[in-house]
């Protein structure tokens, strides 16, 4: 991850220039924060087709989760429908049924909320820990930096999936939030390193310097001056971590190493494969249905991520008319995302 240290200065984030040259009152500060960090970005985001589609897709999944939670669609159960109906063969069971007569639509809808929780947990954990580690290590430097970076090097040295599999076997996590955390147990390490190198640049900036000489506490500097400047990068990486969580969770359910009590997408996929859906044309829909669910959600996240990138990367935005990504994002994704 060394490369990020070099890329960061070259690539930089100039947001500080707009936000903190002058001392502002609390109210003004808040207003400005809202204006610059929420309202304007949202506006820009919405102007991008990708973001719009991404948001719509994710909203659709939230709706599915809601339908499941409110019980608006039947719960999956064996022998609830004729066995092995194909897709759209019977509109009461649009995605078809399994060989045990389970409605696939129900199976997918009713596991959506768990998946979303898992994804959220994975994203929050990965980016949260990375932020904490990156900011502390970067700003404090010295001993703390050394220790934190050694720890994250250690975590980076352990291959993600095998470690996660062993942890999954050891702890048999069933709570979706816990699963999300386990899946991204060492995802933060690489991200933390990139954040640290960005902090290294930011802390040298004049306004941070100013705050420091004025005796503002370290904590305040971190929260008010540094973290806001990292948020764009963090947000985009949150999306990637979320995508990684989906891929990894489905993969592990598919392998059968995560315990489950409901039929998550990965479980449905595994059951389809075990029951010969690869082989039997009549059962192909059993494989396809969960695949669509997985790819759809991932696509929504990716589109959102791409749109966000444009929002948060003003330099690229202004210069290249909103068509590009930063080096870090592309690469960071290629590293962790490439695994799955």
């Amino acid at each position: 991850m060394k490369h990020t240290e070099t890329d960061a200065p070259a690539d930089g984030f100039d947001w500080h220039a707009e936000s903190s040259d002058v001392e502002l009152t609390r109210g003004e500060r808040f207003w400005e924060f809202y204006e610059h960090r929420v309202y304007q970005p949202m506006l820009i985001a919405w102007s991008d087709l990708r973001t719009r589609i991404g948001l719509v897709v994710i909203a659709f999944y939230l709706l599915l989760a809601l339908i499941g939670e409110l019980g608006l669609w039947r719960a999956p159960s064996t022998s609830q429908a004729p066995r092995l109906l194909g897709m759209f063969e019977n509109m009461a069971y649009p995605l078809g049924t399994t060989s045990a007569g389970v409605d696939l639509t129900a199976a997918i809808i009713h596991s959506t909320s768990d998946i979303l929780l898992m994804v959220l947990a994975g994203g929050v954990w990965a980016t949260g820990v990375a932020l904490l580690v990156g900011v502390f290590a970067g700003y404090k430097g010295g001993m703390i930096d050394n220790i934190l970076m050694s720890v994250s090097d250690f975590f980076m040295a352990i291959p993600g999936l095998p470690l996660v599999i062993i942890l999954a076997i050891t702890f048999s996590p069933e709570n979706p939030i816990f699963v999300g955390v386990i899946l991204t147990i060492n995802y933060w390490a690489g991200l933390g390193r990139s954040l640290r190198s960005q902090v290294l640049t930011i802390r040298e900036d004049s306004y941070v310097e100013a705050s420091r000489t004025m005796g503002v506490s370290t904590w305040q500097i971190m929260v008010k001056d540094i973290i806001p400047n990292l948020m764009p990068y963090v947000t985009v990486n949150f999306v990637f971590a979320a995508r990684y969580t989906i891929f990894a969770s489905v993969g592990l359910y598919f392998l059968g190493v995560l315990p489950y009590s409901t039929q998550t997408w990965g479980v449905t996929l595994a059951r389809a494969q075990a029951n010969g859906a690869l082989f039997v044309p009549d059962a192909a829909h059993w494989l396809i249905a969960p695949m669509i669910a997985i790819v759809g959600l991932a696509l929504g996240l990716i589109l959102l991520g791409q749109g966000m990138d444009k929002v948060f990367n003003p330099r690229v935005r202004t210069r290249l008319a909103g068509e590009s990504e930063t080096t870090e994002e592309g690469e960071d994704d290629s590293i962790t995302g490439g695994t799955l």
Binding site: A100, S172, G256, P259, S261, A274, N275, G276
Partner: protein
């Protein structure tokens, strides 16, 4: 048997397991009409039943290629090897003491000329025409070496045998440790093979057991001596080659020159070959195929489905659990489960339900229960009898509140149902059961665990209710002692279900009036000590009655095994022949001349 059978369709590998347990079922009853003569195997060199072809002279230069789902170099034909003794390969390489036909339900003597049971003495007389592949005679010295090594390694036969002695070159005597039903000893003996030439194995007699238990014969300097129809040639990761053994006593029955195991990893590889007609495999043993797949097979692929797998899906309770320790709850569960629905969901082609859940293998129930069967409670084989279930629970003081049943103490009936991940048909049946019970108001959730974890939790009694096979597997399961004991003592999982099998229990009597007390395990052990099946019958009935009432386990479903042969280049004996029901047809039929190469 430790050495002999650990590899026996090891449950460890889940992919292998899919093939084993399968997803199909019920039309299978066809082709399993009991019949045949169950010949006693005294056919010697004249080898009755070998068809028109295959004389001594006309050996065709042809290789039979059989599918094998392991890496050959990981296995060995050393049957004392604890973990890697190859079941299929030793069935080619060695003569067996006796064989059991699932069709006739009889033993047929093979290497044995006679077995005599007289109280605590069993006299084994071996045939005089048994030879090792180097031409030397098989004598009781070899047999003794085998028994001594098995004693060292703690094999199951030594659970019955106290001591052995060599009487003469062909006669060997076993002194049993107690009065034992001959049937049980016969099942153990039928699982033994003439596999231990003294010249090779006597070196292990004064070594640690682990030496022979880890010894890979093929990799050693010793000659690989066999007593069966095919002898070892060589092997690689992909194939395991054997050639016709002219010294085999029935070598005349084998009219082709070579046998090869062709290794594959994924269960669907033979399926693909049989569908596409790739011609890679001539046979495949004990390989499950889903029904839709079978329909797509080429015409020349012959399914042999006459072997009862003798195991199947059951439910095991943790009897220390507050909920499932109560007989009423177990009975209610038995009523709610629709066994035919399980079969329909998980594989209607090869599976069939137990007509009465009483611990006896389904196909043997009628034979053992006889007239008494009508007294037994079948708990509704094809229905979800929630009415009776409600009745039982209410009588025991349970009440329903908010859709969930509660114990008289107000505890909700709620638990995790433990099931092995990756066993596709087990999972389907577990889901079906959990759905029906949840509908009924017993709030269960499925908890999957990898195979080893699942077993570990059961051994450690770390579960409330779980899926587990209720028949202990192998031919012995046809004899009620074995499945009944399996369910009570649960040796396979170190008694992890905590059933009070050795406690005096009070149950309603079989005739319907009054009560009776029974010590279940003692009752089952009694079966083992009576000399004939007639005498055993009433004892079996009492033990089964206890099982039917108290339900230490739920006997739900059993299945047929599928083996596959091809008849485009091979001649196979007609359906109904008892030899088609000897494990496993691809390896058994050739030595009987019932699987021969076409000229």
């Amino acid at each position: 048997m430790a050495a002999d059978n650990t590899k026996y369709r090891s449950l460890v590998d889940r992919r292998r397991f899919v093939e084993l347990v399968g997803v199909s079922g019920a039309a299978a009853l066809a082709g399993c009409d009991s019949g045949g003569d169950g010949g006693d195997g005294e056919d010697g060199n004249e080898s009755s039943g070998d068809g028109e072809d295959g004389g001594a002279s006309g050996v065709i230069d042809k290789t039979h290629v059989s599918a094998l789902q392991t890496n050959p170099t990981e296995d060995t034909i050393n049957r004392h090897h604890t973990q890697n003794a190859s079941e299929p390969a030793s069935r080619l390489a060695f003569d067996r003491y006796a064989a059991y036909s699932f069709e006739s339900g009889e033993f047929q003597l093979e290497a044995l000329d006679d077995w005599e049971f007289d109280g605590k003495t069993v006299t084994l007389t071996f045939r005089d025409d048994l030879t090792w592949s180097d031409g030397s005679q098989v004598t009781t010295e070899d047999i003794d070496t085998q028994f001594q090594l098995q004693k060292k390694t703690g094999s199951a036969i030594w659970g019955y045998v106290e001591s052995t002695e060599v009487v003469d070159d062909l006669t060997y005597q076993l002194n049993l440790s107690g009065e034992t039903n001959p049937q049980m000893v016969k099942f153990q003996l039928s699982n033994m093979w003439v596999s231990t030439p003294a010249s090779v194995f006597e070196q292990f007699l004064d070594q640690d057991a682990s030496e022979v238990q880890t010894w890979v014969w093929e990799d050693s300097d010793e000659d690989v001596l066999v007593s069966g129809p095919f002898k070892y040639v060589d092997r690689s990761q992909q194939e395991w080659n054997f050639e016709r053994n002219p010294e085999f006593r029935d070598a005349d029955n084998i009219n082709f020159s070579d046998w090869q195991f062709d290794a594959y990893q994924e269960a669907s590889v033979p399926q693909q070959d049989f569908t596409a007609g790739g011609g890679r495999f001539d046979s495949s043993w004990s390989a499950f195929a889903p029904p839709e797949t079978v329909e797509g097979y080429q015409d020349h692929v012959v399914e042999i489905r006459s072997i009862l797998a003798k195991w199947g899906y059951g439910t095991v309770f943790n009897h220390d659990s507050d909920i499932f320790g109560d007989r009423a709850v177990r009975q209610a569960i038995a009523y709610v489960i629709n066994r035919e629905e399980l079969v329909e969901n998980a594989g209607p082609r090869t599976k069939f339900p137990a007509s009465v859940p009483c611990g006896i293998a389904p196909k043997n129930i009628d034979q053992w229960l006889g007239d008494q069967k009508s007294n037994f409670n079948d708990y509704g084989v094809g229905e979800s009898d929630t009415e009776s279930a409600t009745q039982v629970l209410e009588d025991a003081g349970y009440s329903k509140s908010g859709g969930t049943w509660q114990t008289p103490d107000g505890e909700a009936l709620s638990a995790e149902y433990l099931t092995p991940a990756g066993w596709s048909d087990f999972t389907t049946m577990t889901n079906t059961i959990v759905d029906r019970l949840s509908d009924f108001g017993i709030d269960l959730t499925v908890a999957t665990a990898p195979t080893s974890d699942w077993q570990g939790r059961i051994i450690d009694s770390n579960f409330d209710i779980a899926a587990f096979y209720w028949l202990p597997g192998q031919a012995r399961s046809t004899f009620p002692y074995f499945p009944l004991r399996h369910q009570l003592a649960f040796d396979a999982m170190d008694g992890g279900h905590n059933y009070p099998a050795e406690e005096e229990q009070t149950i309603p009597s079989m005739s319907g009036d009054g009560e009776t007390t029974i010590n279940p395990l003692q009752k089952v052990e009694e079966i083992a000590t009576v000399p004939t099946n007639e005498e055993a019958m009433p004892i079996v009935q009492e033990a089964a009655w206890h099982n039917n009432v108290d339900l230490p386990f739920l006997s739900l479903v059993s299945k047929f095994e599928q083996s596959w042969l091809t008849n485009d280049e091979w001649d196979i004996v007609e359906e109904g022949d008892p030899d088609r029901a000897v494990k496993w047809p691809p390896f058994w039929l050739p030595r009987k001349g019932k699987l021969t190469a076409q000229e």
